[in-house]
Point group: none
Chain length 131, copies 4
DNA sequence: GTGGTCTAGACCACG
DNA sequence: GTGGTCTAGACCACC
């Protein structure tokens, strides 16, 4: 499993790693007790600073998404899938709310908002996805 | 005309000022050749440093949104309303696209996306607004 | 005699007034002992602050280009035409030198410099002028 | 790479830094993806305030001349060389035009203009330079 | 009164 | 180590 990182762009690298690990867990690509890629491996693969990967894993560990297996690396915790899934949907809802709040602050009418979003939704692919 | 600033939060103060000036121009609250509030006035009103306001105004000036009337202050430029309006709608479209792209990256199905957005849209007020 | 002022642009208004008075003197449009337009008249005509005109006249007076005629206004001094003419040509030479120095600092080759200037010179009008 | 700054003089320090970075890019001294000297380094070297350097770099970034490599510094963008080169020659042409327009406003005859410029051109060095 | 520039020094996020 | 933001306070030119 490898991450896709956008070094430019506003999202910090460590944040992208966190999100991608969570996405892998939420979609079942990573199951409880599965090992996640090692810090050294990821850092080398993505040509980024190992500290950055370590920070992402440290944060994941702090919130209980992964746990250390002494000398063997980091594994996905039992409660991670459930947590990632709810977290993910809540985060999306928050993003939607923030988008609409921002639109209202900019004095867009509900009609305009609905029209713009509707047009964007039409462009959505119809491939098979999860949840 | 006064600005409403959220000093905590991730958006820089100068960025908030920029956006609010543009919003005022886009909605017609500020017309071409109108003077905008002076640096010192705003700084005092919002209890922030004049440099922060000056920075916002400097950026607006470099974009051509406002122009200096030397010794007298800064005025809204002729092209500003048109520019702010198109910029605003484009920015909103980008936000929508970014939201959907993020949702797809998180493997949400189009059905889920539409459902969540649909629910959020229902909560929109129906008051009279601009555009 | 009226001045043509560019309120936007980098040159201060008082500076523009100074230059135009001097140009009028250098070209003979204003002769020694001729009165120059009054502060009030100019300020009204150009819709600018009388203080600005007063400052220009004060500077001109300081350097001896004009002199006050108690209660009657300001007149062109005897030595003004000579002074303005030499000053004008020297100022032009300085501008040329500054232009070339800047071009060299930007690593333009003498060939490029000559070519660009040559092309600009071709566009010069051939009307009858002074000096 | 170091900058040469004239702290007195009318040109703002941050403006001088901007111009020198652009000149280095235009002449190929800085290539795309090259890192530019860090804010702190430059500030120390020139004995000026880091904020002043940061301001110059911020402007360059907004123009797209440089881009941030988060946590690592600022690099020259891909489009920068092309942009700087055309910008530089256009700027020079504008300066020439402005000089001639000013000369005409001062009622210099084309002959005088050509003579003064011709004399200045003779003093140009003949060393090998770029473009 | 206006904006523009600069200094000094602090704090933060990121790698 | 890097840049980004903000504060505090000074000085300047211009109107």
């Amino acid at each position: 499993m490898y991450y896709r990182i956008d070094v430019s762009g506003p999202v910090p690298i460590y944040e992208q790693i966190i999100q991608q690990v969570k996405a892998a867990i939420a979609t079942g690509a990573l199951l409880p007790d599965d090992p996640i890629p090692s810090v050294r491996e990821v850092a080398k693969e993505l040509a980024i600073n190992p500290n950055t990967v370590a920070r992402a894993y440290r944060d994941l560990q702090k919130e209980g998404t992964i746990y250390p297996n002494r000398g063997l690396g980091l594994n996905v915790s039992q409660e991670a899938p459930e947590k990632c899934r709810t977290e993910r949907i809540e985060s999306f809802q928050e993003n939607v709310d923030r988008l609409l709040a921002d639109a209202l602050r900019n004095r867009f009418s509900p009609e305009t908002i609905k029209r713009v979003i509707g047009e964007a939704l039409k462009k959505l692919p119809t491939e098979v996805t999860v949840s």
